[in-house]
Symmetry: D2
Subunit: 384 residues, 4 copies
Amino acid sequence: MSTQSRIRLGMVGGGEGAFIGAVHRAAAALDSMFTLTAGAFSSTPEKAVRSGIALGVAPERAYPSWQAMLDAERQRPANERIELVAIVTPNHTHYEIAKAFAEAGFHIISDKPLATTSAQAADLAAVVARTGVLFGVTYNYSGYPLIKEAAALVRDGAIGDIRKVFVEYHQGWLATPLESSGQKQADWRTDPNRAGIGGAIGDIGTHAEHLLTCVTGLQIHSLCADLSSFVPGRKLDDDASILLRFTSGAKGVLTVSQICVGEENNLTLRIHGTTGSIAWRQEDPNQLTLCALDGQRRIITRGSANTHPTTAQATRLPSGHPEGFIEAFANIYRSMAMAIHARRTNSPHQPDYPTLHDGARGVAFIETVVQSAAQGSKWLPFPH
Amino acid sequence: MSTQSRIRLGMVGGGEGAFIGAVHRAAAALDSMFTLTAGAFSSTPEKAVRSGIALGVAPERAYPSWQAMLDAERQRPANERIELVAIVTPNHTHYEIAKAFAEAGFHIISDKPLATTSAQAADLAAVVARTGVLFGVTYNYSGYPLIKEAAALVRDGAIGDIRKVFVEYHQGWLATPLESSGQKQADWRTDPNRAGIGGAIGDIGTHAEHLLTCVTGLQIHSLCADLSSFVPGRKLDDDASILLRFTSGAKGVLTVSQICVGEENNLTLRIHGTTGSIAWRQEDPNQLTLCALDGQRRIITRGSANTHPTTAQATRLPSGHPEGFIEAFANIYRSMAMAIHARRTNSPHQPDYPTLHDGARGVAFIETVVQSAAQGSKWLPFPH
Amino acid sequence: MSTQSRIRLGMVGGGEGAFIGAVHRAAAALDSMFTLTAGAFSSTPEKAVRSGIALGVAPERAYPSWQAMLDAERQRPANERIELVAIVTPNHTHYEIAKAFAEAGFHIISDKPLATTSAQAADLAAVVARTGVLFGVTYNYSGYPLIKEAAALVRDGAIGDIRKVFVEYHQGWLATPLESSGQKQADWRTDPNRAGIGGAIGDIGTHAEHLLTCVTGLQIHSLCADLSSFVPGRKLDDDASILLRFTSGAKGVLTVSQICVGEENNLTLRIHGTTGSIAWRQEDPNQLTLCALDGQRRIITRGSANTHPTTAQATRLPSGHPEGFIEAFANIYRSMAMAIHARRTNSPHQPDYPTLHDGARGVAFIETVVQSAAQGSKWLPFPH
Amino acid sequence: MSTQSRIRLGMVGGGEGAFIGAVHRAAAALDSMFTLTAGAFSSTPEKAVRSGIALGVAPERAYPSWQAMLDAERQRPANERIELVAIVTPNHTHYEIAKAFAEAGFHIISDKPLATTSAQAADLAAVVARTGVLFGVTYNYSGYPLIKEAAALVRDGAIGDIRKVFVEYHQGWLATPLESSGQKQADWRTDPNRAGIGGAIGDIGTHAEHLLTCVTGLQIHSLCADLSSFVPGRKLDDDASILLRFTSGAKGVLTVSQICVGEENNLTLRIHGTTGSIAWRQEDPNQLTLCALDGQRRIITRGSANTHPTTAQATRLPSGHPEGFIEAFANIYRSMAMAIHARRTNSPHQPDYPTLHDGARGVAFIETVVQSAAQGSKWLPFPH
């Protein structure tokens, strides 16, 4: 992409010591469709500026705070100012920052969860409806090519009507009170003031819900959730088991844990329909299993012939050349880039990234799960 | 084993067209510790006799009915009559047959479920307590060597205190109304009159509960079950999702299905403790994964060095030479044979097979699951 | 099978402490088609008798030597004497024993290698041609159901014309001088006086050659072999790498090792044709991978629908219920039983077990490999 | 990395329709350590310029030919001109281009094979020795973190002295005469005028040799190669089977194919030592198996605790978040960037990327393999 046409990206958060900010930058860099132009990379002003310079941002655009960035960038001429703002801060700040930039007309790509309450999510939706900015949420696992294939297979009827869905997202890195050691990632994720009401359910459970929904197209009707905080002293859940009923009559089981010793980042989706089934594991993302009623079991590999066009478009390398987490994440950025280019030229465009709507549903999911658990693991309706 | 010392085995059920009867016979034959001496192999007298003769039983001991077998065998001198009766009939008849033979002093090996109600199970327990016969229940999956290894690892503290357990038993063979086609296996399993109150939960869910309990040693405190009958017209459940709470504070998820297209006989157990985890899959039974808190992941293979003595004893072949379902089943028979030999000589013996107690708990499990589901997937205490 | 119609089996070797004898007995017992009637279970007379009695053979037929067994059994009336002799002794004795029993009209099932020289193999072939006895060789890996499926797929043209074949048989149990410790299995296998001219190549390489040939139907045209004895002091090869050229123009690579630390019993076959490919691993024998030119990759499981009739006949259990090494071995016994029954009734019968012809080719293979290696890994023609 | 300190990258080849050029650019972009500043992206001048502009290069630095780029860039001041030239053209042009740029003092990163003859490689080595430029060769598979782990494990003695090595690189995409269809990748790779004397052996066999050598540290003593051209009409080899002997006494088997239907990019390395073994598959690159003599089998995952520092440095994401081909490729670029930064400041630096030396050995390997095959698969010494 010619330099002029690259999209000017600003970032809030993601400075020294952060994890996800670096992933966003790698994802944005991979296809050379973005230029990291400005940033407020930390809530500590000196660190924010220092990080920005280290990351190659022009010193005058390495801002000490996101408010300063907002003020300065909105003053710049349209052909200079940042176009897309990536929000990669702890959960409790997403809403405020997103709202401010959306009000000012900047496009947004925000980490999940979108907000800490459904009221905030609704407020954000109102702002976005008014200003018309593009808004993406980094449910990054939906960027995997074979997740697009799975969704296309379901849509095309390859497995018939869905009856039962299993989605699990199991990690083990919080099996000990890692937050006591000052480890940064553990620290804020287990702190209700920064993470919100959900622990594991907010950190990774919402990814599981999104993956399930975006592949199956099912709508949750009601759910029954059992949350646990297994590690002594932990204030938020570190484990969740959830029974799901869908409006179609299908049923599901969604389990989430960060205390499953031995698990690294095991996000697995299995969908059983009347005439077939699909299985996919994030840790082995370059293949998908498709079974038929007669027992025929096919392995579909990323990059192989005969996949759906949306799958092929989300693929950079031939089959057998593994793509991974960053490439999937980069697909979210690439989809946003295409939407922004369409917007530049007022072309019609169908978004192919997780939207504010997905983000709002994710917040409602966390809320409903926490409420069900608080009421003794009672069945509750899921608003939609 | 010298011919004289082989145990004389009688069988009820398992004639022409049956599946599990042939497995019992192969399991009993494998180690040449039993002689199939008598049988009432069908509820249809002619078929029973014909099957017995075809199976090599002496014509006079190929009985037309189990009652005839009971009458005749009890008349025979002790050194001639059958010693162990294998009950491989449809579920609803287990209790009656087992009770009659136990009353008469024969040892029993019965298919699961032990009975159709807890009252029957309690009655059987009383009879067995009175007559002192040995009573095994073919929770055959517990016969796999690496299941013995898993149980030994848990007992020895290799994974610390258990927090979360996942057990799933997923099949797909009943995804269509196979019972309408007259297929014999599907026919009785989906018929409440012969299968009892549980469909999938009674046929395979009880295996999952037993495997979980025998490996972990945990006691279920309460459960919340959602049962479904996905195939139109089916009278019993063909799918179950169950949340478990254990008396120790651990939690679990047990899922069972016979409509999961693509699944063959996927019984999988995953146990996460404070310091480690264990995973095992029945379809790949010759290896077990043991993970430690520091991320170290070990594959333990059946037959390899350094396994627990009980594992090694349950192993016939060197590592890399696969053992399977029949070998595991045969381990139940072998354990019963050892118990019977100990009984012959009045030697002390610790049973290493699933007992009446396991069978009774299995019946209670089915009952509680069905009740929970009937009450809108409500949490119910599990009696113990 | 009714007791009368069971085949009377005699065994030479396989007493206390032996490994393969027990496998033969389990394989013969599994389907209740044989009765172990006589045996000379050791070359040490007392041990032979003691083993026979312990194994349930009538004391008068627990012979002190195979010569005694031969003398006595041939005197017995036809309806009493053993029909099939299993030879499970160390390699150097196979020929002499097989010849003696074949001369006397007994059917034979012999361990591989058939003999220690091609001259012996030719002599045996002449005897068998004259007496007409049935002669099987326990190339047991060919008994796996999915090996039958692979052969059927090749025959049916599912992968087109074969171009390249990879077969490997890697073990690690002889990575140390285990023979110095007196371990019985290691001891005779590494001793040229008992094992013959081949070490690993004779013990397991010949299995690899047979599997390759029976599945592909290819004929070896010439070969180039590099043999090693990696363990200091070892007299026979413990590792072999062999390039193969077939008469059809196809090529192959066959590797064999007993010093591959970490390998248990890794016998793997991969066949690439012009339009497809097949892969199978003995350690995971219940599935086979079939790929097509367009990248479609299918997993075929044992017991699943749509397999070839010969595969289904060699299958005892439904899919997902693992079968293993003993079941495959038992398929060789079952095939011999069917051949013997056909012989009893003079019915036409197509043998479905490895024959003397396969055994003789195996001996030639070992000889040619050893000669090639001895001549500096030179290409040599393979006689056929 | 601040914009000023980014390394200015020029590229030769890799324009419209090319595959590997895009991979180089993604690899260079991933860590934001390079700026693509100039290029001669095609041998067709118009296409070269058009591609450069489309890729965001300033129009005056989107050169019509590499000679024009060389002339113009050497005129620019040191702080403007490109520092590193990536050569991603067909094989036959590598030497000429590399030599010209190296003579002019530019650092080089070249695709393999380095040259088409050992004489060319020696000439290049002389130029580089004289000018002192840094020279990397994209044996990109050595960039995988777990390959660095494997090499460290071998160096640290984790598997003892190596006895046997298996390396295979199997693809299936050239199983048909794809070159006849005009497919660009197939076209030049099967054309001796552009690919050189090696087909599959030059395209991927040299990767296999490099991986083997860089992990094991072994030196090939002699080899015996059998090459085939299975696809009718193909002028170069599409399949190779090679026996290896190492100077240490170890032995190896290296197989390469592009006609293995069903294989995508299966590069697998297995190393067996006296006390342990290592196995790794490129298609599943985030795990490595390490076995010990006692049968203990460990799975080491990328990103997990306790890996070697060089492995950890080559890792961007936590365990369970898959990295793939591009990340490994980017590690070569990152290592070159670090070397260039060290050179800028005259700091001592140990190169951690494949060098000219590796490239020259790769050329010798191709030559020796082709000669061995041409002489009837004769054993030939390997020069070193």
